[in-house]
């Protein structure tokens, strides 16, 4: 058994977890919902094991670094953080419907890592610029932040779907009646963005400490840096609009979706469309 085998199990696991969340919403059987959650917990445990195993394998190969060094490994970690944050939210608010929208993100990240033809999944040694203790702090904080924004985006989508139907009774709303209350969703969008914003700030700060020791500049307007700043500015605007201007509901949900689009561009778009210091993230 090796980490690659476990990770392919994980990919299918997220698929089935997402599928069962959807089925449980459609046929309203709580047993299926519990099954979906059970699968998710098991998959998350295997996923955690696989990441640790890949770490161990890299030591066995005499390379020895945390599995956070290229696009493949970052996608694996991204999926893990999404699952982790979603599991925490499900446990906290006790609703499984968000799973319908959150688990597909974890599955898509895993599927992209596993099935993209240009993906390099070998464990490779670290280039001199990546040999830094700040690597782990930087990548972990950034991706936990990205995952919080991903969950916020899924909740925003749920909010926008449910909003037009709020005048109807729970029975008339059909499936949407099983979504958490609109006020709960609204609050959740905000809470997850606050977490994401804190972690993104921490990620940018640790990245600039690292850049300062590797290149002598804490900020060099490299496209990835700039896009992370653009993302930060969008969420900063959102938080000001909500806290100072009293914006709520649909407007915040849309801003949260725009914010996550910026996250996706920072993560993928910069690697494929622009060039810069972070180009090793592309392979």
């Amino acid at each position: 058994m090796n980490s690659s085998y476990l990770l392919s199990l994980v990919t299918f696991g997220y698929f089935f977890s997402a599928l069962f969340y959807l089925i449980s919403l459609v046929i309203k059987k709580s047993g299926i919902g519990r099954l979906a959650t059970g699968i998710l917990w098991a998959v998350l445990a295997i996923h955690t094991g696989a990441i640790i195993l890949r770490w161990v394998e890299s030591y066995q190969l005499g390379i020895g670094h945390a599995p956070l060094s290229n696009l493949y490994e970052s996608l694996i970690f991204f999926a893990w953080t999404i699952a982790l944050i979603y599991v925490w939210i499900e446990w906290k608010i006790g609703s499984k419907t968000i799973g319908v929208f959150a688990t597909p993100f974890a599955f898509l990240a895993m599927a992209y890592a596993s099935f993209s033809p240009n993906m390099n999944d070998r464990i490779q040694p670290l280039l001199p610029a990546l040999q830094s203790n700040w690597l782990i702090a930087h990548v972990v904080t950034c991706f936990l932040g990205y995952a919080a924004f991903a969950v916020s985006c899924s909740v925003s989508i749920m909010f926008l779907i449910k909003k037009p139907k709020t005048r109807l009774t729970k029975e008339q709303q059909g499936l949407l009646g099983y979504f958490p209350e609109i006020a709960v969703l609204d609050d959740l969008i905000y809470q997850t963005i606050v977490i994401g914003f804190l972690l993104l700030t921490l990620g940018i700060a640790t990245g600039s400490i690292w850049a300062h020791s590797a290149w002598g500049t804490y900020w060099s307007w490299d496209p990835k840096e700039t896009w992370s700043l653009i993302t930060w500015l969008v969420y900063a605007a959102l938080l000001h609009a909500r806290m100072m201007k009293g914006w709520h509901g649909s407007r915040i949900a849309w801003l949260s979706i725009i914010g996550f689009a910026c996250v996706l561009f920072t993560y993928f778009g910069v690697n494929f469309l622009l060039s810069g210091l972070h180009s090793y993230g592309a392979a």
Binding site: L127, P128, S213, A214, G216, A237
Partner: protein, 450 residues
Amino acid sequence: MTTTQSSKSIFSEVIDFFASVKLALVLLIVLAITSILGTVLPQEEPLGFYQKAYSPLVVKLIGFFQLYDMYHSWWFQWLLFLLSVNLIVCSLKRFSTTWKVIMAPPRGVSESLFESLSFKKKLSLPENPLDDRAYVSSLLGNRFGKPVSLTSASGKAFYLEKGRFSRLGVYVVHLSVLIIFAGAIVGSFFGFKGFLELREGESRDRIVLKGAQEIKQLDFSVKLDQFALSFYPNGMPKEYRSDLSFWEKGKEKEKAVVMVNDPFTYKGITFYQSSWDQYPLSIKLALKREGRETELLIPMEKKTAVPATPFSLQAVRYVNNLSNLGPALGIILFKDLEKVDQSWILADHPQFHGNRLGDFHLTVKGLKTRYVSGLQVNQDPGIWFIWIGSSLMLIGFVIAFYFSHQQVWIWIRETKDHQGETKTDVLIGATAHKNRGALNLKMEQLTRKV
């Protein structure tokens, strides 16, 4: 009178404009959108690059708006300046109010106070508690600190609070942004960024500053004692390492190793491993002319005579990889003192037809090379502003997002009910300066157990 009044109102309008959240939102969004431009348009390229790629009109726009270096352009700096003014004016304007609230004594109890609070509840006790203070503590525990007695017209009143200073969180965040900006300004005025190329064994006391092509004199000299590079088995680079020594007045003061991610600071100036190169010390050449072959060792850059001929050779340039053809040497052929020919000689391609100078065909038999280490040399006195600003920002976020000023009032009064029986009323009220929902929920839980 009217003129002063209107000028005053214009002044306060200007203040209101700069203090407004609307301006902050517009600036954040405009900064976000304009920042995209510099990630799409290549930055800091020579003018010719833009002239080749874009039409004359676009080149003119790029020139006027300084889009070739947009993050340092006049208008982008203006946007950042406006954001700073916005931050300062808005924070100052709100701060005086916040400070008054923080410093104000708690409001006394009254019916209207409880009306205004977000959480209010009335409990009825069959008899007066023996010890009011102990009763309050039993109700709320240590959650809100020690109860303070308030004077009241009737009964007994207590006030509890926590997180009073969390009202300052937002100012900590705003201040941290200004500190980071200040750090960037200090760095650009009092710091420098430069580059230094050192050959093994070479020592220098001057560096080339970035951009301006200026030379900066250091008050010490730095010597590259040795450069080493190593590779992984698969050929990926593993480590670049420069062994440096620092000299003052002909004396060695300190030795240091500089690697990628592991810089070294001497007298406030930091040296970073940035790049490396190779240069030849000497070249062993085979010369073929009119069927006769001779071997010759020529030191780099030194004109060397070809024995028994009026010719001499001088190797003036070396590149690691010329058009993907591998290492190449730029060699000049002299006859007596006159230059007669020059060409690139490819070291790894002995059969290359261009490997000739005049009547000579040249083959490189051996290269004795040494390393050149490229070092980034910086001084940034603003860096501590950046680290302090970033830390403050994170602390400020935690305060601003996860703490709130929570206030609780408790008023214990004796009243008579309809039958004239004496009973005790306990009025509990609470509010928070944000996230009231969470406080209301908590208060509901605390008072339910009574």
